[in-house]
């Protein structure tokens, strides 16, 4: 089943005097429950593409559909709140909250109300190797790998079907990268989540179901 449909999306930045086209009439359909990775040269437009499908930016030409509804119909802020979760390279947790508070903040925002938020939150964190005492700690006092796990737990906690990540392992060492990737892989397998990860690491892309390369403003399936 198609969860995300990109239809003739063109995107360009104004660069000095002229328009520089980043995405060029791009169309693609993402299937539910699959683990995708997007690779491509630096500056090819991977982050730009992700920000469009994350509803962080509006498409100027073309359409994006989430389960047959265009993002315009859903509303961008609603879409971000209820339908997707983002994981960033820089973890991007709210630094004045504890790990568990970061998680419950995300939970309280979704339409699908979650009962026993705290209990579920601790359980999730534990699943990703963050124990009770670390969960109650301010996130700034966690290691990079731990913070990224909290970020993924937060993505999962918001109980959405589509998880997007931009170089989530970019700041982590190899062994941690492998752990994080296996978590993503699991999410797709066990929870039937659709995962789209932008990465430079072949270790990451090798683990995914489908590898897409962004080249000349278009997505090309590699695997």
């Amino acid at each position: 089943m198609v969860i995300l449909k990109i239809e003739n999306v063109t995107y360009s930045y104004k660069d000095g005097g002229y328009q520089r086209v980043i995405l060029n009439d791009l169309s693609y359909e993402f299937q539910e429950g699959k683990f995708y990775t997007i690779i491509g040269e630096s500056g090819s437009g991977k982050t730009t593409f992700l920000s469009l499908i994350a509803g962080l930016e509006k498409v100027k030409s073309g359409k994006i559909y989430f389960k047959d509804k265009s993002l315009d119909q859903i509303g961008y802020s609603n879409y971000r709140r209820n339908d997707i979760a983002l994981v960033f390279q820089h973890y991007n947790l709210i630094n004045y909250l504890s790990a568990i508070q970061n998680i419950s903040l995300a939970m309280s925002k979704t339409k699908k109300k979650i009962k026993k938020q705290k209990y579920v939150g601790y359980a999730l964190l534990k699943k990703f190797g963050i124990g009770k005492s670390k969960s109650d700690r301010s996130v700034t006092k966690l290691s990079g790998g731990e913070q990224q796990r909290v970020a993924i737990a937060r993505a999962l906690a918001s109980n959405v079907e589509l998880i997007l990540a931009d170089e989530p392992t970019g700041n982590l060492d190899k062994s941690t990268e492998i752990e994080i990737i296996s978590i993503f892989k699991n999410l797709a397998l066990e929870y039937n989540k659709t995962i789209i990860v932008v990465t430079h690491s072949s270790d990451v892309s090798d683990q995914s179901d489908i590898i897409l390369r962004l080249v000349d403003g278009k997505l090309v399936e590699m695997k």
Binding site: T47, L50, S51, A54, L56, E57, S77, N78, Y79, R80, R81, N82, A85, L86, F88, H90, N92, L93, I94, N95, Y96, L97, Q101, S104, L105, A106, S108, K109, T110, S138, R154, S158, D166
Partner: protein, 484 residues
């Protein structure tokens, strides 16, 4: 997780930044507290001084009014004045007429008369009548009804013969409410000599109240008046009085050959043309009250409400109020500009956090609310401390300010000996510059504190407007490219 929890966590996390903001709120808050305190103290001093200055209005004849006793002949003015006394803003008015009488079926209180030249008429009493259901003396407590009641508007309208007596008079004669008293005029016996048995008007009153006369007695010789004074509706004895005046007139025509009886004005008409002394409920109404009516009576009369005296003594306070208003506006404008800049910076520094919150779908309005609440809490904490220190500083300041504000006053005090001295002015209370200044009391009251908190609320709210625009136009997309 609730917004308040986030607010508190955020404040604790940004301890140092928020401590600086707290200090700024505290420092500026002191100015605000002192400014508001001084402003309020001077406004209150004006009000308190006005209150000390009884809100009394008297009528004064215009020097070159059309006719000397014009009012007697101008029914229109009489009517206007009778209208004026019905105004809702009036607390009480005195339009007193009195008559010396002799009580028939009781004894007047006899007091040692120190001065041999003064002779008390045997059983002489004085009936004082007003035209409304109270009088100044009742209002200010110098007459205190201890038993029964004062006469009512209905009784005034029907000129009913009801009377209040002093408790000394009641005790002496063993009188109680409901008892009857009979009176004659104090020249009755003389008139009787000429009219023989033909002249014998008697008036009978029912006692409806007993009062204590607390008036300060300045002259012992007048004690008997104070104990033998009685209160009754003004018009209840005017016809009776006319009997005596008619008899007097007849006697005069008999003795001196006067014939023109028609020249006699009825007591009631004379009374109607009397000028009331008015006391308002609220001193603030004085100016507007006078403005409402003075035009109508102007060819003959003006209204005096002791405004010259007040305006002179109150001038320093007006100056203080004026300047403290200016300073307050300056402080508030400065606070708003300063906090706008600070909050703008804070929001800018929190770009990343705002981006994350937006990326997980938190609404912009909620983010704005969070920042607003954070600033507001710090603002309230800062101002709370400033309320203490500001009060202390203000107390010192306030007195200094009032001392340097003393201006030379050139009031023309009215002299008692003045030929044209209007005794109605005795009702004006006295007020000195010192009284006015003593009323200046720097004091941060509860309601003042509440309004200061409210001001901080408004200042923070306004200061958040421009920074909010920054949030409104924040592009959540940036978050993906931002490096920490």
């Amino acid at each position: 997780m609730g917004i308040l929890q986030r607010v508190v966590s955020s404040i604790i996390n940004k301890k140092i930044k928020y401590f600086l903001l707290f200090i700024i709120f505290f420092l500026l808050g002191n100015f605000l507290v002192i400014g508001i305190g001084i402003n309020d103290a001077s406004k209150m001093a004006v009000i308190k001084s006005r209150e000390m200055l009884n809100p009394i209005i008297i009528f004064e004849q215009v020097d070159d009014s059309p006719e000397d006793y014009g009012i007697y002949y101008d029914d229109a003015i009489v009517e206007i004045i009778n209208e004026i006394v019905l105004d809702e803003r009036i607390l009480v008015y005195n339009k007193i007429t009195g008559m010396n009488m002799v009580v028939q079926n009781a004894d007047a209180v006899d007091i040692n008369v120190v001065d041999e030249n003064i002779k008390q008429i045997e059983n002489g009493v004085y009936i004082s009548g007003n035209n409304t259901d109270s009088m100044f003396e009742i209002d200010d407590g110098s007459y205190e009804v201890v038993e029964g009641r004062f006469y009512t508007l209905d009784e005034i309208k029907n000129s009913e013969k009801v009377v209040l007596i002093t408790n000394q008079f009641a005790d002496l004669n063993n009188l109680k409410i409901g008892d009857k008293l009979q009176f004659k005029g104090d020249n009755h016996d003389e008139l009787l000599k000429y009219f023989e048995d033909d002249f014998d008007p008697i008036i009978e009153y029912e006692i409806i109240g007993i009062f204590n006369n607390n008036q300060i007695i300045e002259n012992e010789n007048e004690d008997y008046i104070n104990y033998n004074v009685m209160l009754a509706p003004a018009k209840s004895f005017l016809d009776f009085e006319d009997n005596y005046r008619n008899a007097d007139l007849q006697l005069a025509s008999f003795i001196y050959g006067w014939k023109d009886e028609s020249s006699m004005v009825k007591s009631e008409d004379m009374y109607d043309a009397e000028l009331p002394i008015i006391k308002l409920k609220d001193p603030d109404d004085l100016a507007s009250f006078v403005e409402d009516y003075e035009e109508m009576i102007l060819p003959y009369y003006t209204m005096n409400y002791n405004n010259e005296l007040f305006e002179n003594y109150g001038k320093p306070l007006d100056i203080i109020t004026y300047f403290s208003n200016l300073i307050l506006i300056a402080i508030v404008v400065n606070m708003i500009l300063m906090f706008t800049a600070i909050i703008f910076l804070y929001v800018k520094m929190r770009d990343n956090e705002i981006g994350i919150l937006l990326s997980i779908g938190i609404k912009k309005i909620e983010i704005m609310t969070q920042i607003f609440l954070e600033i507001l809490i710090i603002g309230f904490l800062g101002i709370s401390l400033a309320l203490f220190s500001g009060s202390l500083l203000g107390n010192k300041f306030g007195n200094e300010i009032i001392n340097i504000s003393v201006v030379q006053n050139n009031i023309n005090e009215y002299e008692d000996g003045d030929m044209f001295y209007n005794h109605d002015k005795d009702y004006f209370s006295e007020l000195t510059q010192a009284d006015v200044f003593n009323n200046f009391d720097f004091n941060i009251t509860k309601s003042l504190a509440i309004s200061i908190y409210f001001m901080i609320f408004i200042i923070v709210l306004i200061s958040c407007v421009i920074p909010s625009i920054l949030i409104m136009i924040q592009d959540p997309n940036k978050i993906l490219n931002r490096k920490e």
